[in-house]
């Protein structure tokens, strides 16, 4: 038999009320009205019977054993411990950033920065290299130039050798 033939056909305009009637969610007056209607409407009565048979099928029963609840409690307590630890750290950090403390923290930061810039150089190690290293650094370009001039000497010597090889070119 086809589904639509098997299913009860309620009055369309009463369908929602019938669902609420099934769940006991109608006010007294509305419930009485449906009760009266049911005595004369086979379709709506059959629909209600069908709901009463069908809807309990959708509930899946579960009855966990006793040890399930013991484990449940133990596991949840462990998770709460971990969450509590995490939360206390979070609260500590959050305490630093409470809105009413922010101006105080800002002022403290500005003062610290100003003091550091004013007096800091006396305490911080200087980034300048020692004097010996400074002399060496200054001498380095000179040394590079020296190498250049030496190369020039070799070139001079080459010119001399070439001129010796071609007497006609000699001055």
């Amino acid at each position: 038999m086809a589904d639509h033939e098997k299913s009860a056909r309620p009055c369309k305009e009463r369908e929602e009320d019938l669902v609420l009637f099934h769940y006991g969610e109608l006010a007294d007056g509305e419930r009485r009205a449906i009760d009266g209607h049911l005595t004369s409407c086979a379709g709506c009565a059959a629909y209600l019977t069908e709901l009463a048979a069908l809807l309990p099928l959708t509930v899946k029963a579960d009855k966990p054993p006793e040890n399930f609840w013991r484990d449940y409690n133990r596991e949840l307590r462990r998770k709460l411990d971990a969450a509590g630890e995490k939360r206390s750290w979070g609260e500590l950090v959050a305490a630093f950033f409470r809105p009413r403390l922010l101006p105080a923290w800002g002022a403290a930061a500005v003062v610290t920065l100003a003091l550091a810039l004013t007096f800091g150089h006396k305490f911080w190690p200087s980034n300048d290299p020692p004097k010996e290293e400074t002399a060496l650094i200054e001498a380095l370009p000179v040394a590079e130039n020296l190498e250049f001039f030496k190369t020039m000497d070799v070139l001079d010597n080459l010119d001399l050798l070439e001129s010796m090889g071609n007497p006609s070119d000699a001055i």
Partner: protein, 220 residues
């Protein structure tokens, strides 16, 4: 006579909370503090009383688990989801302002987690789907007694079809239906939990029932 054994140990474990609560209620109705309400426990937990929060867990864990089970239809997932909801509530307890009841606030967290879980599940279906359906299937109307192989096959078919039909419902229809049909919450409670109007919940419920009726017509 002084209590001894497990009862004494339980009493000793609860002593700090009871003492703290006792000090706070001198001027209040003592009968309320024999069994403090959720609001009192929440206030104590917000002041950092872990035992007060554990008392809230004890009160709500079974209902939380069964709601999660109705969404997930799997024991392990339901356990994880309900525990995650308690953890989330614990972490956000300071933000709970008491405008709604703890019950509504907490179950809203739980239902949102369950819906997120269903969304994730839709995106990445696992191959344990059929396995979950084949065992552990026990529609509530059926007596828990030995069944013939034919009955077992039929129960499996029904459960599979129900799971598919529920999974096919839009999230809000499924939520309204589960909270009403499985958990027996009132329309008013569901509306508060879903942060919507009661009329909207009625429409969701009606549409969910109509869709399920169509899907399960063979078994009616």
């Amino acid at each position: 006579m002084t209590p001894h054994g497990p009862a004494a140990a339980r009493l000793a474990a609860r002593r700090p909370f009871l003492d703290a609560a006792g000090a706070a209620i001198k001027s209040q109705d003592r009968s309320r503090w024999v069994n403090p309400g959720d609001e009192e426990l929440v206030a104590a937990a917000q002041r950092g009383d872990r035992r007060a929060f554990e008392e809230l867990v004890d009160r709500h864990k079974q209902k939380a688990y069964y709601i999660a089970f109705d969404f997930a239809r799997d024991r392990e997932e339901a356990r994880d989801l309900s525990q995650e909801a308690f953890l989330k509530a614990f972490m956000n307890l300071k933000n709970f302002d008491g405008r709604s009841s703890f019950y509504t606030w907490f179950y809203r967290i739980l239902v949102n987690l369950c819906l997120d879980y269903k969304r994730r599940q839709k995106r990445a279906p696992t191959d344990s789907f059929d396995e979950t359906l084949e065992h552990d299937v026990e529609p509530s109307h059926q007596p828990q007694q030995p069944r013939s192989p034919d009955q077992q096959v039929l129960a499996g078919q029904i459960s599979r079809r129900v799971d598919q039909a529920l999974a096919a419902l839009p999230a809000r229809q499924r939520t309204a239906f589960i909270l009403k049909n499985h958990q027996g919450l009132s329309i008013k409670e569901i509306a508060a939990l879903m942060e919507t109007a009661e009329g909207t919940v009625k429409v969701h419920l009606h549409r969910a029932v109509a869709a399920l009726r169509q899907s399960l017509a063979d078994f009616a």
